[in-house]
Amino acid sequence: MAERTATIASRVGLHARPASIFAEAAAEQPVEVTIALEGEPADEALDASSILSLMGLGAEYGTTVVLRAEGDGADEALDTLVKILETDHDAE
């Protein structure tokens, strides 16, 4: 199981446009990726490609989240997704 932590860099949190961008990128990965707030048990993690789950997560600017994935390409997938979370998409 590959695992990464990331800090939300978008000022509006993981909502709206940043959530769309992230969900779409997660869906494009060859492996299933989950997302959880830091400190929450892994079996309560949510589907990272689900925009509705992301919105329900309530991750604000500065919140730390944990991404997990398994299988071939898991490390690369997580690295890509961490980069997206740590970009401020509102600033674009």
Binding site: V12, H15, S20, I51, L52, S53, G56, G58
Partner: protein, 598 residues
């Protein structure tokens, strides 16, 4: 319109459907109806006959994919905010977690419609509980759900219909969410069977320059594909238009082009009537300045507050107001303090459990229930004014008594704002305008609310459309009373009138008298109606503020009359027995309305 009789075969048997014209224009086009809202399926309805869990799951999956693909295609064709919103809703429609909870319900024997309805409901409830921005997204989830159910049932998706050809949009009424997705290049005219002259439909139609008719009850009988002639000037929809209607539509299409507004509102005799813009954001202000507006007569500050669950910071507010002020250096900008409540609720300021919010704690009144927000806003306005070159005036909405006016003037003075004023929307403020204006420097009449409160007629009710019309003589009398109050209060308080502009000797005397008066402006929809604008000036209104798109039309018509004529026309309207009669009497005396197709 005597020529109409020739091409008319069935007049009197429902061929001509009457409503209230709320936005000028004459076009012929085919009807597309706004689909009926999707009715909820029964709770936990069983699998349809002949279906099994596998086939029903496949049907649900196909429907979500079809809706997601449709929304994605629309997102690709859209730009800016609309594209972002459509893209997010497309992702919601194809959301795996949503589909998973719905298919679990299908597996336990529930129909696809009921399953997706229930699954989306759970998500919406969760988002609503998070509050603020997320609570608003709950509406998107419910919209996506309705689209999936419509797809499953094989009925048209809710919302503005898609079409390659421009069409006449017929609806019961349009909600703000519908009008936000309305593409003016695809819609020829708006016709609603409900709604009044101040409904969202009317406001959006005027701002987009589309012909529109509201409260046309007979139009519920119109079906997709029907050919109709829509006359936004007379307020009628004619089925099966013939040569007579074609001629009218063609002459409207060939109407004299309105000259661009040259940036100076005047009557034929040179009497100045500054034409200002109503704006709701910095970019709006820039576009209004480009359109020639002589200043801002109404800055709606809600743009800074709406859609937030917390009050914006001082710095955020200063920046937002400056963006508007900087578009009008050396010009007047009238700022209206926060007007929350009624149809503009704010979680940190208003109580959404009021049984009658239009008569509730709204506008200035929220300062009593939640003190501090107003004082902080005034401080931010003062700082933004200090940092810019605009001539900033500040007014409070929903002032009802001279005491409230006095307290607001005090709050402005404490913040260092020089020009305090009040909105006149409550009839009590119009009746006591002289006393109010002894305590502040100016008044601005919000005709939409003044009409609804004077006539005791809800703005959104189609059945009361005739009452809810700013042409109502009683409303005009209150506007006159407010302007008279401004003259009676001349020379009181701290305000010193601006220098009188040059003119003929007689006009100079009138202008001198008016410049000592406390100025009374109008910033409601009424100011954007060119014929009514003439009446308002005749009643003693000094400035008119409107959507920037109305500036050329209002300026052109004002230039065809002198002050004495405007006063004569105002007299005709004041003496009329109804809004319709007032409008007819005045319009008959303004031949240029027809020439410009207004």
């Amino acid at each position: 319109m005597s020529a109409a009789a020739e091409g008319t075969l069935h007049d009197g048997d429902g061929r001509v459907l009457a409503g209230v014209g709320v936005s000028a224009g004459r076009v012929i086009g085919r009807v597309k109806r706004m689909p009926d809202p999707v009715q909820p399926p029964a709770d936990g309805a069983p699998l349809p006959e002949g279906a099994d869990v596998d086939s029903e799951t496949a049907r649900l999956k196909a429907a979500t994919q079809a809706v997601a693909a449709g929304l994605k295609a629309r997102a690709a064709a859209a730009t800016g905010d609309a594209a972002a919103v459509l893209k997010a809703t497309a992702l919601m429609a194809g959301d795996r977690t949503l589909l998973k909870s719905a298919t679990t319900l299908v597996a336990s024997g529930t129909s696809a419609e009921s399953a997706i309805w229930e699954a989306a409901d759970a998500v919406a409830t969760q988002l609503t509980a998070l509050g603020g921005y997320m609570a608003e997204r709950a509406t998107d989830v419910l919209d996506v759900r309705a689209r999936i159910v419509a797809e499953l049932r094989g009925v048209p998706a809710p919302g503005i219909p898609d079409s390659d050809e421009p069409f006449v949009l017929c609806a019961v009424d349009l909600a703000p969410a519908d009008t936000a997705t309305l593409d003016p290049a695809k819609v020829l005219a708006l016709v609603t069977s409900d709604g009044g002259p101040q409904s969202h439909t009317a406001i959006i139609a005027r701002s987009l320059g589309l012909p529109a008719i509201v409260a046309a009850t007979g139009t519920t009988a119109l079906a997709d594909g029907d050919l109709v002639f829509v006359d936004g000037i007379t307020g009628t929809v004619t089925r099966d238009p013939g040569p007579a209607e074609e001629e009218i539509a063609a002459s409207y299409a060939n109407r004299a082009a309105l000259p661009d507004f040259d940036g100076a509102g005047t009557l034929a005799d040179g009497h100045a009537v500054p034409l200002l813009a109503n704006v709701g954001s910095g970019s709006d202000a820039v576009a209004s300045a480009e359109a020639g507006a002589e200043g801002v007569g109404l800055l709606r500050t809600e743009f800074c507050f709406l859609g937030r669950d917390k009050e914006p910071t001082h710095e955020e507010q200063v920046e937002a107001y400056r963006a508007v002020f900087d578009a009008f250096p050396g010009r007047k900008v009238v700022v209206r303090t926060l007007d929350a409540g009624a149809d503009k609720p704010l979680p940190f300021l208003t109580d959404d459990s009021e049984p009658n919010p239009a008569l509730g704690v709204r506008g200035y009144r929220t300062d009593g229930a939640t003190p501090g927000v107003l004082a902080r806003q005034l401080a931010a306005i003062a700082e933004a004014a200090e940092l810019s070159e605009a001539d900033v005036w500040t007014m409070a909405p929903m002032i009802s008594t001279p005491a409230e006016a006095e307290r607001f003037a005090q709050l402005c003075a404490e913040a260092g704002l020089r020009r305090p004023g009040v909105m006149v929307e409550v009839p009590s403020a119009a009746v006591l305008a002289g006393q109010l204006l002894q305590r502040v420097d100016f008044a601005s009449i919000g005709t939409n609310d003044l009409t609804q409160y004077t006539m005791a007629a809800d703005r959104q009710l189609g059945a009361l459309a005739e009452l809810n019309d700013p042409w109502q003589p009683a409303v005009l009398h209150l506007i006159q009373a407010t302007a008279d109050g401004g003259r009676a209060a001349a020379g009181t308080g701290a305000a010193a009138g601006p220098g009188a502009p040059a003119g003929t000797e007689a006009a100079a005397v009138a202008v001198a008298a008016d410049s000592a008066a406390k100025p009374v402006g109008v910033c409601g929809e009424a100011a954007a109606d060119p014929a009514l604008a003439v009446v308002l000036v005749g009643l003693g209104v000094a400035t008119l503020s409107m959507n920037r798109r109305a500036l050329p039309a209002v300026a052109a018509i004002l230039r065809t009359v002198d002050l004495a004529e405007a006063q004569r026309l105002a007299g005709l309207a004041l003496g009329a027995a109804s809004a319709t009669e007032a409008k007819q009497l005045v319009r008959a005396e303004l031949p240029d309305l027809e020439r410009f197709g207004l």
